[in-house]
């Protein structure tokens, strides 16, 4: 389908937004879906039956999924035609900001992988089932994934989420670590972790590798989040609002500085550490970010703050 039906008003991401995604593994768009789409989605998602003594919480979710109006979709479908015309998700994906962000990250013709309706039940459901009400272990989705290319996971919050409702917990900057799903479950808390507290209609765009988990719901209201995973159908090279001719980025002074450098350049974004970074491997994180930026820009010589140039220098051997 390509960019058929896409107007010039479809805003692509900026280089700074793309660098933010490369460095931190997420982009957040607050309250971008209008009330009409949010209400339509909640209507299509349906409401879970109230708890009954002895009924498992998973049963309540299974019954909801079986009878709601969100369709089953097999993986491999072209995204732009995957959802029924006029459905809430189809309308959500057609929003210019949403479409532009998707195209910027995974190209013009992304492929549907899977979706899921995540429902986190309040304490009364767990009490009725005589089950513990706890948060989800932190994990990375799918399985060990050694690619440089990445999938995009869109988290859609169709209603407001308060802190007592839990929200999605995620740790910025963890996405480039190659781990095996919930093998990291013993890490209960990490410095810099974020909890999604947001208004209705908020979207969280995640690199597939970001470490995350569902927060425990301690409110009296059921929490709903809809996730869609997409993958690219072509190399994710220069898909955003990037000049046709990209001038080489000049190196900037490092370590010995007279004053703080500007914080919003691509180089600065790619070399900003997260609070949880280990002191030595934090530098390897910078290197892996630079490698991902090279892939996305198609520039095999891009560097930030000399991290790659230094270790790629073979002058001594050649000489």
């Amino acid at each position: 389908m390509g960019r058929d039906g896409v107007t010039a008003a479809t805003p692509l991401l900026t280089s700074e937004q793309m660098a933010h995604f490369v460095a931190r593994g997420f982009l957040r768009f607050d309250a971008v879906a209008p009330d009409e789409i949010n209400a339509r989605f909640m209507n299509e998602a349906g409401r879970a039956a109230e708890p009954a003594p002895g009924r498992r919480v998973a049963k309540a979710l299974g019954d909801l999924l079986a009878r709601n109006a969100i369709p089953e979709i097999a993986p491999g479908a072209p995204l732009w035609s995957a959802y029924p015309e006029g459905s809430a998700v189809q309308r959500l994906l057609a929003l210019p900001l949403v479409r532009g962000a998707i195209e910027s990250l995974v190209g013009a013709d992304p492929i549907f992988d899977h979706h899921f309706l995540h429902v986190t039940f309040p304490p009364r459901y767990h009490k009725a089932a005589d089950a513990a009400n706890v948060s989800q272990h932190t994990h990375q989705d799918s399985t060990v994934d050694p690619r440089l290319a990445f999938d995009l996971q869109i988290m859609y919050y169709p209603h407001a989420v308060t802190r007592p409702m839990g929200g999605t917990r995620f740790i910025p900057g963890t996405h480039l670590r190659k781990v095996s799903e919930v093998a990291l479950g013993r890490y209960q808390n990490m410095l810099g972790q974020q909890h999604m507290v947001c208004e209705a209609g908020t979207l969280l765009f995640l690199h597939h590798g970001i470490w995350h988990g569902g927060g425990v719901n301690l409110s009296d209201r059921t929490r709903t989040m809809f996730k869609i995973r997409l993958h690219p159908s072509a190399p994710q090279v220069r898909c955003w609002d990037i000049p046709e001719r990209l001038e080489p980025a000049p190196q900037r002074p490092i370590f010995f500085l007279k004053q703080a450098p500007p914080p919003d350049t691509v180089a600065a974004i790619l070399t900003t550490p997260e609070p949880w970074f280990e002191q030595d491997t934090g530098r390897l994180e910078f290197i892996n970010r630079i490698k991902l930026w090279r892939y996305l820009t198609g520039d095999p010589e891009y560097d930030a703050d000399y991290w790659m140039t230094r270790i790629e220098n073979q002058a001594g051997i050649r000489g």
Binding site: R177, K178, V179, Y187, Q188, N189, M190, L191, W276, Q279
Partner: protein
């Protein structure tokens, strides 16, 4: 369980977990945004016994830049009365 910023016990805490075998308290993922101690040494000074520290291992050739799990894991224990 404390995860530190480098292999020194007095390095800052970057991640943590607490499992209470007495059942008096329940801890879970995402239940605290601030660490219980500033460093591993601070935990020692508060009466925790260190019983395991992760090894320092060389980087396999060709995998020098691969990152996975947190590197500096320290396991502490305190003994308490069961209810």
């Amino acid at each position: 369980m404390l995860y530190l910023a480098n292999s020194a016990l007095d390095a800052p805490v970057i991640a943590w977990a607490l499992y209470d075998g007495t059942g008096e308290t329940l801890h879970m993922a995402g239940d605290a945004d601030e660490p219980p101690y500033a460093s591993g040494l601070a935990a020692l000074r508060d009466g925790w016994r260190l019983f395991q520290a992760s090894q320092l291992l060389p980087h396999p050739r060709g995998e020098e830049f691969d990152l996975a799990y947190l590197k500096y894991e320290f396991l502490f224990e305190q003994w308490g009365e069961m209810a």
